[in-house]
Symmetry: C2
Subunit: 550 residues, 2 copies
């Protein structure tokens, strides 16, 4: 760069002057100013996000404690764009000495540091909601909580955002015992509406993916919707899991090594990771350039890197399925049949896999076609003889750890993957405008959300690949169905056309040959039906040769 | 809920047991585990995000100090998916005693707490990058920085994520003076590629929106791209601004009041807010139910709410334009003409406005059509007589505070707004497949990003409205152009058809009437031209009546 330009630029304000404004901020102040990052923007979206945080928190609490969830949600209108939200669960409750930090401090909780499949995983959700309540109404949130041991307590909580710490007021012990937690909070700048992104839709989808939960919702008009549980048995409780060796980064390896109680790297590996058996340790020992009996606390970056490289060259069993609890093929199929009422539905739950960081995950994919599949956009009431004609567009129903994802579809790895499928290969010429519902649930010990608002999943390679392969698998079945259906429709049409002209041809033939009409008609119909049967056999042959090619 | 169901559910694990795992976490650990929330996922995307954070930081530093930015970016390949990135600027530098916290601590900086239009605003960006470098390579980041006063220093920095604090090593004073900052950092799990989401595209777009900056880029192949500055004058430096009364929330009002030095609410209002003149204070004083001369520190929530209500009933001048620095109509038009090479381009910079929270913002919208507008998706080389035919689809070029937004288009308020426009009204029957480039820049003292990765803007009502109105304004001009163009094409076609048949008609007429061929041809041509002119006048009449309807 020439000197001339440098001269043109001013010498500038001194750095010391600029840096007089240097300050540190609390994470509570950060999210208070950036409430959009918690999904708290848009009047309807904000309310749905509030319900999402409270309900997932309740479901997690119940399941972790091994309790069949019973959740009640109530929204009451106080004034225009001003509501009170109450969520009650029958969970384990919060111990008295933990309630402040559990609800009134961001980035605190039992979930963040453990690898366990829960809906919440950040330690932000409910405290973010309490913060939003107080900045829109100036009021604290009311909490009632009781455990099996402690007395039931009632208190009011708010957050000092400058210090990210809880402020508890009006604490009292209740006579009446209640095991579980009730959170009651007021909010302004929100609105309750029905429709696509509503609380109703959120809870309906929650019920689909949580058939073991009983959910009761009272809307601001007093109308009550109940989703009774359809399975009276708690699903397997996801256990905390050690990271799977596959995908663990060097930094994490070192961090684990530093906190390990083991005296040798070899025992550290078997203790700290899932599926790290003796054979794997032996293999790693041969591969690395240092003594595997070394103290793990003294591992250098280069040595840890060596271990990670060795892991790539070693075979490991897939992650333990105990740690991941999908909804299950049977339940998804049942739910889709009951709620979507499609012509065709097919669901697959894939085996667990691991993505970068050693996080185990598993995907479930379902495709529903025809009937009530897709999203209804319009109904033409004076259509053709078959009655009113509905126009439906495709719909992608996304879940992460069984919690519905309603927003930011465009930025979500699930959406991107579904859209990247070449649907023409499966008989769908225009996916966007097809009557299809694609259902995807990703369960993981750590969902890679793109934002603290937990609305979209990052398109991590391994997750994308698994969704895509499962989708293709499911879609192949759909393709066969659609092609079969098209052929049947064609055959029906052929039969209709033949049947229509047979009497005319018979009349003409009878006239010119003088033969018996009835006999002619019988013979001709037999020929037609023979022909259609032949077609069918040829179809089958073609199908078989196509299958053979695969 | 029936008692039976309650009995079925297990009594559950005790809350005390569950809560033994309760922990607090640092914001650095949070983002380390959730790197996706910083936009650090996907190998190409991660590299582009790294460049984005470093370059915006440099541009902000230069501009804040009143220095014409000269920025050099260099990416070198070390190994497969392993690169070194260096960014050098001629900014004010960082004082020695601030460098640790400025680069090695998340949520610390000079931007977060002030209302000033800068590209960075969170105090996360560069420290997040340094954290990502160390967790993928185990190496600290090298920093060289010098201010006008201090000696130039070189050091290495990393972050202790457990405590969110900087670790500085190898600090030394350099003989050679350098005013500005150089950051040199290594990263694994990234990839350099050209194309739509590349570093190249990011820097090209940065150059478009920052014509006063000189940017030089050396890619891993050693190829150098220079974007020399096209304006040798620094744009106005955005000043720190007080919040505008319109849109300030009750919580913020109280928070400001508590920190105010003023003795009366009246003087607090005029001191703490932009545009709060005597007349406005008088009006508020009449509206509220308490004495406006009261101590602002004693303001209750209800009283602050009263003030906010009064503000809604009071007229205020729009926010001071000094605080917002758009790119400007002229510069955007020039850039679009030079880079897109469209047939038609029209740009409007709207007057500033305020969104929820009292944050001033301003939008700029440009539409380019035809020529090189839109994104080229394919070229059919053996098309028709006019040469190869290009297929182009529409493109939305998004900026926030002059920084390009390349990712998560689907989740961005800008995209949603552009897609919500009824483009048919403006002569574009299918927006997705039209050769259109829509340019939108939102500048604000606080951009409402949906994620810490700063890739998408929340669809806050006021911002959406302003973008939409400006778009409609610009598109009306485009519509007139497209309709005019269509009419001209039709007229040309008519003329061609008439001219083609005139000689034949003349020959036939001449034969049947015996009149002179040349005279007949001349008369007929005159008639044709008259007719076309008439059409034109009718067109104009229709246009005028359409305008009158608006």
């Amino acid at each position: 760069m020439s000197k001339k330009e440098t001269i043109i630029s001013a010498d500038g304000i001194d750095a010391d002057v600029l840096f007089t404004e240097f300050k540190e901020h609390s994470v509570a102040d950060f999210f208070k100013k950036n409430r959009q990052m918690l999904g708290l923007y848009g009047k309807q979206r904000t309310l749905t996000t509030i319900i999402h945080e409270l309900v997932t928190n309740s479901l997690d609490a119940c399941e972790e404690a091994g309790i069949l969830p019973e959740i009640e949600v109530q929204i009451s209108e106080i004034d225009k764009e001003y509501y009170e939200v109450a969520v009650k669960d029958n969970g384990p409750g919060i111990p008295e000495n933990k309630v402040g930090n559990a609800l009134g401090k961001l980035l605190a909780g039992t979930k963040f540091h453990r690898l366990v499949q829960t809906r919440g995983q950040q330690g932000i959700g409910v405290s973010g909601i309490i913060l939003f309540s107080q900045i829109t109404t100036g009021k604290p949130t009311k909490v009632v909580t009781g455990t099996t041991k402690d007395k039931t307590i009632a208190l009011e909580i708010s957050i000092d955002s400058k210090t990210n710490s809880p402020k508890i007021t009006n604490k009292q012990t209740l006579e009446k015992k209640h095991r579980g937690t009730i959170i009651k909070s007021k909010f302004k700048e929100i609105i309750y509406k029905k429709g696509q992104n509503s609380v109703d839709e959120y809870l309906r989808r929650t019920a689909i993916s949580n058939p073991h939960a009983s959910i009761k919702f009272q809307d601001p008009f007093g109308e009550v919707t109940e989703y009774p549980r359809t399975i009276k048995k708690l699903p397997q409780i996801p256990k905390e899991v050690k990271p799977h060796p596959r995908g663990v980064s060097v930094d994490e390896m070192l961090s684990f090594a530093r906190h390990s109680q083991a005296r040798k790297v070899s025992s550290f590996l078997s203790q700290s990771f899932d599926r790290f058996g003796n054979k794997a340790i032996e293999n790693v020992g041969k591969f690395v350039h240092f003594d595997i009996n070394k103290d793990p606390k003294k591992l250098t970056w280069e040595e840890a890197e060596d271990v990670v490289k060795a892991i790539k060259e070693t075979k490991f069993i897939a992650p333990n399925t105990d740690n991941l609890v999908p909804i299950g093929q049977k339940h998804i199929e049942k739910s889709l049949r009951a709620i979507v009422e499609p012509e065709f539905v097919f669901v697959t739950t894939r085996k667990p896999s691991v993505y970068k960081g050693g996080y185990a995950f598993q995907v479930e994919v379902g495709v529903a076609y025809g009937g009530g599949s897709g999203r209804l956009v319009s109904v033409d009431k004076k259509a053709d003889e078959d009655g009113p004609r509905e126009t439906r567009v495709s719909e992608i129903i996304r879940y992460a750890n069984k919690a519905p994802l309603l927003f930011d579809a465009g930025a979500c790895g699930i959406t991107k993957t579904v859209q990247s499928v070449d649907w023409k290969r499966y008989g769908i010429s225009n996916f966007d405008n097809a009557p299809v519902s694609v259902f995807v649930n990703v369960v993981s010990v750590h969902i890679p959300y793109t934002s603290a608002g937990k609305t979209a999943i990052a398109d991590e390679d391994e997750i994308v690949t698994d969704i895509k392969l499962t989708l293709m698998d499911v879609s192949r079945k759909l393709g066969t169905y659609i092609i079969q259906k098209k052929r049947e429709a064609e055959k029906k049409e052929k039969r209709r056309v033949f049947s229509k002209y047979v009497p005319e041809i018979v009349a003409a033939l009878s006239k010119s040959t003088g033969k018996n009409k009835e006999l002619l008609e019988k013979n001709l119909m037999t020929m037609v039906l023979e022909k259609l049967k032949l077609d069918e056999e040829e179809d089958k042959k073609i199908e078989q040769s196509e299958d053979a090619k695969k």
